[in-house]
Structures are given as structure tokens and as C-alpha cells.
Symmetry: C2
Subunit: 377 residues, 2 copies
């Protein structure tokens, strides 16, 4: 199949050479399936995710790179079982979003894009701002007006134009879509190139484990870019004959805002009514994920699942990890909380190889962690 | 020479088996010289600084490790010359101090230490708190009462007892020394094991560069643990026959608080009168570094030097780096500012291999970076 943008719902394809962020009627796009790579195609001399560049949808002579990827996989004892922690905050901007931003903006720059628009109040915006700066692109980041100034400092330091939008997170997303006729919408939620950055997590886990897939991967899930990245990456490895089966992928979401987990647990392929309340797991508080059906498909097809977590469970997991030396955002700690519940339910077992994807540093969530500790800042 | 603690000023040695943090009269200690290791002695299967464990002063069957080290070395164009950025914030707690904390606490735990005392208002305290938590040690961190709560959140999250001490940073250091009769003083400034953690930076640069030493290493310098770590590590590689000469080591300090640079530039081996004023480069604001003469020795013996930087130069370098995608503390940005000045003076030349050690993430300095941007938090 020729490489193209693919609307997975209609099957329609669009030429890859023409930059686009969606299909007709704002359909979210993927790419047509890629063949994947074998271990011989890894570039061992490159200490970044660009060692897997042969797996990307196009050749990239000049990537925008700052050492992203090649994060440690640390073995720990948790809930009475051995588990592997993939420490995704060992990154330029402190979160896994750097994988997506590095690949997406490298490919877009190669396609002639010089100005990008993103909407985010958190890690996605920081990553796009940093990589735009590194690549000489101009970036505009739209964020909800309620975003704390501390969160926009990083984006502004990178030289991005930050525009604050009144209203909800959805209002900001709508404003970005409305602006997309004027400047290229390089959205971490919409653009499929972003997923081909996050998919390098799958390649890396495979290499970390001596060219094997783990049994289970537990991922904090908001819009689902890590779930889909894993699904794409492991599917490619399966296609390339490097693994026999993909891992089961589990999504961890806050009960206060978990539309993907709610639909999965209801056995639905469509959104079901579910709460939209504030949560300490800010990074996963996405009320209307645009690729809901694709994320559900990834969870079902890999034999994985979804876990909903109370605020108390997320807070406890955050402090438990910190008290064992691991300082991550509450958003990330959901993977550890979900691991405990999946073990307890028997859905996964202690002797399996399970990876928890720890997506972002606790330094991004100082006010939230202070709250958990009862400290007034 | 038998491995021992060494007072480099008197030549006196002390048995390594008895834990101690200083010599008589509070003399700062080093260790007797180690032979270093060859490339065959690296453990290539370990993705952390523990790949160089054969270079440590004792065998460590059970290190306290969270993937510290193996940070990227990124090539960038800066001030019209190619330069290598060693990204030392890709670490568990976000700074290079994790190298020292991992090694120091692993060795101390092996010697039977269960409770540790540290004094710090910043990266050192966070690193010791995290590694104590990871290793099951109890930690007390003393910090100046003026330390912002945001900075102590991380230490408290790791379960450390944080004690706020009225007065200056020196008052806090004095209080820690006074307490050292009650609990083992595992100070990142005092304990020589810490330097045998930071020395792994030298081994890593050597491996990063294909088993060569760079020509120049530029290090932000407060108490000098990175200067001395580099000096120790490259001396060992010289002793092991792996390199022909150590790199020249340059220390970057704020003019507002730069006692090491002041003494170096005055040609003195002792402290000279120099300003002690607030600086945006908080991490290097050490008015009375305990190993001043040893740090000066390292700069002189390697043919390196020292650079003093104005607040404006430090601020400009911080934002220039951020606008190229690199988000580091003003403390770290001093290396980039010093590089510009050393190039301009001809002390170093563009065709040499120069490494800038970028010690900590900008996420640790959000209020300072906001100030630089004119943002009110």
C-alpha cells in the first residue's frame, strides 16, 4: 500500500505529500500501515529515538533532535510484584510528549511548514514550543485562560506566542480548529505524525527487553497518543516478524474524567455518559478524545483493558512512588495505581513482564503534589 | 596505595571502613587515587552510570539506582562554533546531583548507614531525599528558612524530614555540622563518595566521544563537585592509559558570588575578597566553598580557567538556550555564557571539542525564568 493519510473510519486515503491535519468533516487521520523494521535496521550509534528512524514514514535527513528517547527501564517491586518502570520524563521538556513533537515537527518542517499552531495547557504545548524553537519554526500555543502562569512560562521561554482563550479546554480546542485555516495546525492530538513519534516507545521497550515484547503495558491515557503509539509500534514489529504477539495495552484514566475507560468497561464502541469533574490527573483530563474508537480498538485488539481510578487512588499512588524515590506527576502515577488493581483482579499476574509508562516529571505538578502533602505554597 | 580517606592538605589518611565525612579539624577529605578503568571494564548491559561501577572505590552488589546517567550529548551551533551539550537534567530528580547521590548513598548504605543528614536548599537536597527514599534510608534535610515551599515539596514528597533553619545558607550549613554528631552527615559538599558519583560524568564523556577526552569542559561551579568529579574521572582515565591528557576544565561562576573564579583570576591559592550578592544562578551561589584550593588546583593543573558572569549575561544565556529549545536553569546556562566569552577571548577555539555541562532543568527555576520574561506568577 502506498504511504498515505488514512481515515480509518471511511477507509479514504489522501496523498502524504500535501500537509493536512484532518480529513473531510474533521475526520481524525492515521497513516496507512507501515512494514516496521527489524533489529538490524536500528542505528546503534544514535542515542535518541532517531535510532529507529528507518521505521518512520519518510526519510529525515535533518531531524529536530535534543536527545529525546532512550529513557531508562527500571525494575522495581510494587504491590508485591516485579514491574518495569519506563521513565519517560528523562526528556528535554520533562515528558513523553517530546517523542511526538520531535518526529511531528521534523517531518512537517521537511514538508515546508514554517509556522505551527498547537493547543494545550500542559506537556504537549511545552514539547511543541521547545521543538519548534529547536527547529527554527514559529509556534503559536493556545491555552485555556485558566492555565496557571507557571505552566505557560516554559512555552513563552521557548519563544512561542501563547494565546489565552476564555472558557473550557474544549473552547480552546475549538478556537484552535477555527484558526487552522490561517496557520498549520500541528496538534499533538490530531496529527498522525505525532503518533509515529510516540510509537518509538514500542520499539524502545522491545529493544530494552532484548528484542521481546512485554506481556502488558499500562499507560496513563488522556487522548490516547501513548496507547495508539504503542499499538502502531508493536503492530509494525509484528508485521516485521520481530515479535510473536503485541503486549496487552491497558489504559489508566481518572474516574472523574475517563470517557475511554467508561466506554471500554460498558462494552461500547461509542462514548457513554460519564462524569466530567476536575481531577488531580490533569494530563489525562480529556472529556472528548477525538480518537476514542481507535483507542478502544487498540485496547480490545491487544486483549488489554481500562482501569478507572478515584482521586484518592491516584493521590496515594503519587506519594507511594515518591516515597520510593520516583517523582512523577499524578497523571503518570495512574499507571502504578492501575497495576495494583489489575494484579488484585487477576487480570494480570506477577510473573508476567509488565511495563508502567511514567509519562511526566513531578516537577510539572508541584502545586498538586503540595496539595497532597498538605503544604500551602 | 591502600584505598583510604585522604586529607589532601596534610596527606593524612583514614581507614575507608569507618564511615566519616571529614578529617580532624573539619578537614574536607578526598579518597586516595584510584587506578581507573579501561573500556573493557565498562558493563555495556547497564544503562546507567553503574556501567562504570568497576571504577568506584568499592564493589557495590546492590546499588540504589533509578537510571541516572547515560545522558545525551547533543551537538549544537552556539556563538558561531559547534559545541556539545551534556544534558544532565535527564535524570530522576532533574539534575546532575543524582550521580553523586546514587553513588554516595549506595556506598554508605553498604557501610551500614541507615540515617542521613544533608543540608541544601536545592538540587542536592532533592537528590539525597530521592535516593534515600529509593534505598530505604531515613533522610533529614536542613534548608534555609527563606527557601520557597515549592523547593521543599520534592524533598517532603520523598519522605524526608525537612528542617528550616533561620538565617543565611551558611547558618544552615553550620547547623548541619552541629547536628552531625547525632546522625551521619551525608553532605553532597563534604562527602568524597559524592565526588566518585560525579566523576562518572568524565567516564561518560569519554565513552560518548568514542573513548576520547574532549579538549575543554565548561562547568557551572558552586562548591565545585562537577569540577572535581571531572578532574578525578579524567585523572583515572589518564592513569589507566585510556587518554593522553585530561581536558581543560573551566568553571563558570556568577560575578555576584564567585569566590573560586575571583581567586583563580587573582592568581591566588586562597580566598580573595569578592562580592556576595544575590544571583539568578542560585545553584552556584556558594560564598565559602569548602574545597576552594582543590577546585583551583583542578582548574590550574588541567590548563583550564574560570569565567565570571554578570547577571545580564546569565539571563541572556538562559533565554538564548530556551529559544533554541534547551530549557535549563540559569545556573546551567552559565556554561553557555562562559563558552561565548572564552571563544571571544581566544582561550578556546571553535575547532576544539568543547562540552558544556548543563546541570539542571529549567522546571526547577520557573519563578526565575518568569522574572526574565517579565511574567508575574
Amino acid at each position: 500500500m502506498t504511504l498515505a493519510y488514512l481515515d480509518p473510519r471511511s477507509g479514504e486515503t489522501f496523498p502524504i505529500d500535501t500537509p493536512r491535519w484532518c480529513g473531510p468533516g474533521q475526520a481524525p487521520l492515521l497513516l496507512t500501515p507501515l512494514p516496521g523494521i527489524t533489529r538490524d535496521q536500528i542505528d546503534p550509534a544514535t542515542r535518541s529515538l532517531w535510532r529507529y528512524r528507518a521505521a518512520l514514514p519518510m526519510g529525515v535527513p535533518s531531524p529536530i533532535t535534543m536527545g529525546e528517547g532512550c529513557t531508562p527501564l527500571v525494575t522495581r517491586r510494587l504491590h508485591g510484584a516485579d514491574v518495569r518502570l519506563k521513565c519517560e520524563w528523562f526528556m528535554p521538556t520533562g515528558s513523553f510528549k517530546d517523542r511526538g513533537a520531535s518526529v511531528m515537527l521534523s517531518l512537517l518542517r521537511q514538508q515546508g511548514i514554517t509556522d505551527v499552531l498547537e493547543d494545550s495547557s500542559g506537556n504537549g504545548g511545552a514539547a511543541v514550543a521547545a521543538y519548534a524553537a529547536a527547529g527554527g519554526l514559529r509556534a503559536t500555543i493556545m491555552a485555556p485562560a485558566s492555565t496557571s502562569p507557571a505552566k505557560t512560562v516554559q512555552m513563552r521561554a521557548h519563544g512561542a506566542a501563547v494565546e489565552l482563550i476564555p472558557g473550557t479546554r474544549q473552547d480552546t480546542a475549538d478556537a484552535a480548529v477555527a484558526r487552522s485555516s490561517q496557520v498549520f495546525y500541528a496538534s499533538h492530538n490530531w496529527h498522525p505524525f505525532f503518533l509515529h513519534g510516540t510509537k518509538t516507545l514500542a520499539y524502545e521497550l522491545w529493544e530494552d527487553l532484548g528484542f521481546r515484547a512485554p506481556d502488558n503495558v499500562i499507560v496513563p491515557c488522556g487522548a490516547g497518543s501513548n496507547v495508539l503509539g504503542c499499538e502502531i509500534g508493536f503492530s509494525e514489529l509484528l508485521r516485521a516478524g520481530e515479535i510473536d504477539a503485541p503486549p496487552r495495552i491497558f489504559a489508566a484514566q481518572p474516574a472523574n474524567c475517563g470517557p475511554i475507560a467508561a466506554a471500554f468497561l460498558a462494552g461500547s464502541e461509542h462514548p457513554v455518559p460519564s462524569p466530567v469533574r476536575p481531577t488531580i490527573a490533569e494530563g489525562t483530563a480529556i472529556a472528548a478524545p477525538i480518537r476514542l474508537s481507535e483507542v478502544l480498538g487498540a485496547l480490545r485488539e491487544t486483549g488489554g483493558g481500562a482501569v478507572m481510578l478515584t482521586e484518592e487512588e491516584i493521590g496515594t499512588a503519587t506519594l507511594d512512588l515518591a516515597r520510593s524515590g520516583i517523582y512523577v506527576e499524578p497523571t503518570s502515577a495512574q499507571a502504578a495505581a492501575a497495576f495494583g488493581k489489575l494484579l488484585a483482579s487477576g487480570a494480570i499476574t506477577p510473573e508476567q513482564t509488565t511495563v508502567l509508562v511514567l509519562t511526566g516529571t513531578g516537577l510539572k505538578a508541584t502545586p498538586r503534589i503540595a496539595e497532597l502533602l498538605g503544604i500551602t505554597l
